[in-house]
């Protein structure tokens, strides 16, 4: 029975995925090798493409910097409370994505507490807003994907043997040196996993840009979505999805290359 189902199911899975892949290449109305779609897409929507990568990149870096100390803290000082603290980290996932983002809309609203405080502190000009700015969009992305960053970091830091750090200190490394030479390199797999898990969905996101940003903050996701669902311009929307995929893959490849070489040089030194 197992055999039968397995060899029935695996091709089925194949078929599902393959149809998914080829469904993408199709240029809609008639298949004409219309490579022009790609060029027009790049020409017309370059700002959105660039902005997507920019926002996603910024959000990823900030999320990494913000959550690394916390992951470190839970891994090494969490003690008995580790599981509870981890529950706190994934807590945002228990609230529907859209509702979370709407909550940020409430928090950052024009007459809300945050905007008023910032105006009083003269950080924001009177009458300034947070909604409909790039800052709000990036902040929303950071918040929504923060658990994706914090969890892999925690997992890799948790596996670091504290005795290695002690050994480094015994060998007269000061705390900072021990961290840079021992803890950080050992947690690198978590850093890589976290950045990828954050960057990939962030680059394709359109919800934050739609709810927290204005038209000038639109990302490529917004364009794809409106092309598909409002304008029914399937060919160019499909082309854009592919460019987005290609862009992300290229980024991931470059990233893997850089990190790989850094790890190599790190171990050589």
């Amino acid at each position: 029975m197992i055999w039968l189902t397995i060899f029935f199911v695996v091709p089925l899975g194949f078929l599902a995925y393959q149809s998914l892949e080829s469904g993408n290449v199709d240029f809609g109305y008639a298949f004409t090798w219309a490579w022009g779609n790609y060029w027009t897409a790049i020409r017309d929507y370059r700002p959105q493409f660039v902005r997507s990568l920019e926002y996603a990149g910024m959000a990823t870096v900030i999320a990494l910097v913000v959550s690394y100390p916390v992951a470190y803290w839970i891994a090494f000082r969490g003690g008995r409370w580790k599981n509870l603290l981890l529950l706190f980290i994934v807590a945002p996932f228990f609230v529907t994505y859209l509702i979370r983002t709407l909550a940020w809309e409430t928090i950052l609203a024009d007459h809300g507490f945050v905007v008023r405080t910032l105006i009083n502190l003269h950080i924001l000009a009177p009458g300034g807003r947070l909604l409909a700015t790039g800052t709000a969009v990036v902040a929303g992305i950071i918040y929504n994907f923060l658990p994706f960053m914090a969890l892999p970091l925690y997992v890799s830091l948790e596996q670091v043997d504290p005795r290695l750090i002690e050994a480094a200190e015994d060998l007269y490394a000061n705390k900072i040196r021990a961290f840079l030479r021992v803890t950080l390199p050992l947690s690198l797999p978590g850093v890589v996993a976290g950045t990828l898990l954050t960057f990939i969905p962030a680059a394709g996101d359109f919800i934050n840009a739609q709810l927290l940003g204005g038209p000038e903050n639109h990302m490529i996701g917004n364009v794809i979505q409106s092309k598909f669902l409002a304008a029914s311009d399937y060919p160019s929307a499909a082309a854009m999805s592919f460019i987005l995929m290609a862009g992300i893959l290229a980024f991931v490849a470059v990233y893997a290359f850089v990190v790989g070489t850094e790890e190599l040089t790190g171990s050589a030194v």
Binding site: G23, V70, G204, F206, M245
Partner: protein, 282 residues
């Protein structure tokens, strides 16, 4: 002598130095607490505003406390049917995805077939693709399969598709640490393949299957992007929220959000407590 001297000189450190030591010791803790406040802030806003008594359409500023949003949770038209649709699709999609995912995981771990590497990549692909690309590609697929009308079935197929990967990954993790000797022992004792599977394999991987099911359900209920692309006129709960956000989401959206949050957290806590008890017994 010198050791004693060192011991004595310690308490005499300046106030500044000891303050600095205190700061150094606790700065990480303080920072982490701030981090958690930041994480929980929007959640508390969601909970708080589910009790808001909004004037007019917009639920953005605090007006006053009321139980009415909870009492009339299905007040806004369409919200109840949206929730029901989300639950239906979540249940069916997770059942199908978990069943298929378990079998794929079994095949991947147990059998060496030629396309194994390719299958592994195929399982990984949906996990590493932006949702919008998944949604868009499924949409183009369904546009060509005109015999499937957009709505319940297209959403269901889409959800099964992206849930399978999560199910496979979850079950596979458990199968890798699985002791095959147990199955062999069952066979030696005269059990046939079916009985072995039913009596030995299944109970051992049951926790992973349950975990996969719950994970699929959570992802399916929460999914917006893929659903939105393939829903046609059907409205799941996230799609409802999106639609209502344009002209001010009703406070009932926060009620449902709070309810989902409370249920999920309760389930997780119950699971943790159960595991603790089991550990104590074992």
């Amino acid at each position: 002598m010198s050791a004693v001297a060192v011991e004595r000189s310690r308490p005499r450190r300046g106030v500044l130095a000891s303050t600095w030591a205190f700061v150094k010791r606790h700065v990480l803790t303080a920072y982490s607490i701030l981090f958690f406040i930041y994480l929980l802030l929007p959640i508390s806003v969601v909970v708080l505003f589910s009790f808001n008594n909004p004037v007019g359409n917009f639920n953005y500023t605090w007006q006053g406390f009321t139980w009415n949003n909870w009492r009339y949770w299905n007040g806004p038209p369409g919200i109840q049917s949206a929730i029901v649709l989300s639950l239906e699709i979540g249940l069916i999609a997770s059942l199908v995805a978990t069943a298929l995912g378990t079998m794929i995981a079994l095949a991947l771990v147990r059998y060496n077939f030629r396309t194994r590497a390719a299958t592994n990549i195929l399982i990984f692909l949906p996990l590493s693709t932006p949702e919008i690309v998944l949604g868009a590609s499924l949409l183009t697929l369904f546009l060509h399969m005109t015999f499937v009308p957009f709505g319940f079935w297209t959403i269901l197929i889409a959800h099964v598709m992206f849930c399978i990967s999560f199910a496979v990954v979850t079950v596979k993790a458990r199968l890798i640490g699985f002791d095959r000797h147990l199955e062999e022992a069952a066979m030696d004792l005269g059990a046939n393949e079916l009985t072995t599977f039913r009596r030995v394999t299944l109970p051992l991987i049951a926790p992973a299957i349950l975990a996969a099911f719950l994970l699929c359900f959570a992802i399916s209920i929460d999914d917006f992007v893929v659903t939105y692309f393939n829903a046609g006129n059907a409205v799941t709960f996230p799609v409802y929220v999106w639609g209502s956000a344009r002209n001010g989401a009703p406070a009932q959206v926060n009620v449902i959000g709070t309810a989902i949050f409370v249920i999920a957290v309760t389930l997780v806590l119950a699971n943790v407590l159960l595991q603790r008890r089991r550990e104590k017994q074992g």
